[in-house]
Amino acid sequence: MRNPRRTQNIAFFFLLLATLLIVVPVGLIIAIIVQKGFPAINWQFLTDIPRQGMRSGGIFPAIVGTIYLVCGAIIFALPIGLLSAIYLSEYSGDNFLTRMIKLAIVNLAGVPSVVYGLFGLALFVVFFKFGASMLSGSLTLGIMILPIIITTSREALESVPYAFREVSLSLGASKWQTIRHIVLPNAIAGILTGTILGLGRAAGETAPILFTVAAFYLPQLPHSIFEQVMALPYHLYVISTQVPNVDEKIRYGTALVLLMLVLFMNLIAIIIRYRFRKKKKW
């Protein structure tokens, strides 16, 4: 006769093992990058251009390029994403159109990142003749992060209690006034969280910028949105696979800067969410 207690203990042991198999490598990866990348980081590495075929010098143009691209993406994606979230949470009914929009969001979130790259190439670079430029890259990244912004903003808007809206409407405010002065201010933390998560995603993606903006080597800062820029993720890809004999330290250093940039944004998002939850008035 099998003992169910023992079976349970064995089963739980394996479940714990599976969990550790996922979480421990995450910790290890971050530890390795921090440990090996940290010695490479100094003022010169962060503020100098890459030198000697990217084998020495710094990564300043790539950092700036990534920041520009991410800002461009958010300028494009935030207004559209936010209004789209407002539509879904405040205006849409339970009908076919809403179903379609939700399905489109799910699909947009699932489109492979390299397909975004193709799309950006076909539409912005070739069709609109923007060329490989910051404009093309930012727009491509912007469309890519749209689903993240919409989903999180919508959750934030929907978590505002319905009574808030009813009171505002009963006092004679119009629907838009209610949204503008009551719903949005109360959902701002959630919207901010979504926006920052979108920023983090855009900063780390490589495939969408491969053919739309990223420059292999361009040791200067861009002067207009129609120029190419270097970007951190692409730079990491280049120095770890395309350029031979790059010092390990530089590779780890670049990986660390990129990782920190992305994790820092996620951390801010988590902090905002946490503080907001504590302050919640309802």
Binding site: T19, S84, I86
Partner: protein, 287 residues
């Protein structure tokens, strides 16, 4: 006047609400526009089932079967590894872990989702690839196996978080009923919770697979990029995504090669569309 302003704003909001639908259609149309051109010179069956991918030779041979098999092999490997581990992890987090540890574990999983794929590819190149090479005594560690392991890892956040949600949404009375009848906690999980959450877990698995097929950078960096028909997990392969990423930079705009890469994009788009729509159906059936 105010009514007019309100009217304009409402129309603007509606237009933005439709933006996602518009972009999905736009992506598909532009892929079609550029991709279908390749079928003027090569017939679709030959494109899909041709065994040779030599886009630069004269005349170019554009058969994507080796790439499809490359993607299938890597996806299959990643699924075999990630599904049991991912679902087990979801069960642990949802059912067994104490509250504080649960928060830490969830943060760890979120952290994994946040790491850029190029960073994971870089780490995989430096740690996983030599490991695979040494264990199996191979000439190179850049193999389908390395890619599968890395992709399995990258699919975890998707699988764990969605499967966990599915387990949470099982009505509490199911669990209480089973426990009241004398079942152990494990019996309850295995016989009651998992079957009740099965459609959500299936959706989690499908979305995980979708994530794996679409992954580009990490897979390009550690699978070795050989566009040949794969015969085992211990060989270099090249996936559909990696082919586009690796070759589009060199393809001349408007050339046959360029169109062929877009046609691969259509294949990827259709795969991800099918996976997402099916997963969505499973998620909605649950409710």
């Amino acid at each position: 006047m105010r009514k007019f302003k309100e009217f304009i704003i409402e129309k603007l909001i509606l237009a933005c609400g439709l933006a996602c639908v518009f972009f999905v259609i736009l992506i598909f149309l532009f892929l079609l526009k550029e991709g279908l051109a390749v079928f003027k010179t090569i017939n679709p069956a030959k494109f899909l089932f041709g065994k040779n991918w030599y886009p630069i030779s004269e005349p170019a041979q554009l058969g994507i079967l080796p790439l499809i098999f490359g993607s299938l092999l890597v996806t299959l490997g990643a699924t075999i590894i990630s599904v049991p581990i991912g679902v087990a992890c979801a069960v642990y987090i949802a059912e067994i872990a104490p509250l504080k540890i649960k928060e830490i574990l969830k943060a760890g999983i979120e952290l994994l989702a946040a790491i850029p794929s190029v960073v994971l590819g870089f780490i995989g190149m430096i740690t996983l690839v030599p490991l695979v090479k040494n264990i199996f005594h191979l000439p190179t560690g850049l193999t389908a196996l390395s890619g599968s392991i890395m992709l399995a890892f990258m699919a975890m956040p998707t699988i764990v978080s969605i499967a966990e949600d599915a387990l949470y949404s099982v009505p509490k009375s199911y669990k209480e009923g089973a426990l009241a009848l004398g079942a152990t906690h494990w019996q309850t999980i295995y016989r009651v919770m998992l079957p009740a959450a099965s459609s959500g877990i299936l959706a989690a698995v499908m979305l995980g697979i979708g994530r794996v097929t679409g992954e580009t950078m990490a897979v390009m960096m550690i699978t070795g990029n050989a566009a040949l028909m794969p015969h085992s997990f211990l060989q270099p392969v090249r996936t559909l995504t990696a082919t586009i990423a690796a070759e589009m930079g060199e393809a001349v705009v408007g050339s046959e090669h360029y169109f062929a890469l877009f046609a691969i994009g259509i294949v990827l788009f259709v795969i991800s569309f099918a996976i997402n729509v099916t997963a969505d159906l499973f998620l909605h059936r649950k409710k």
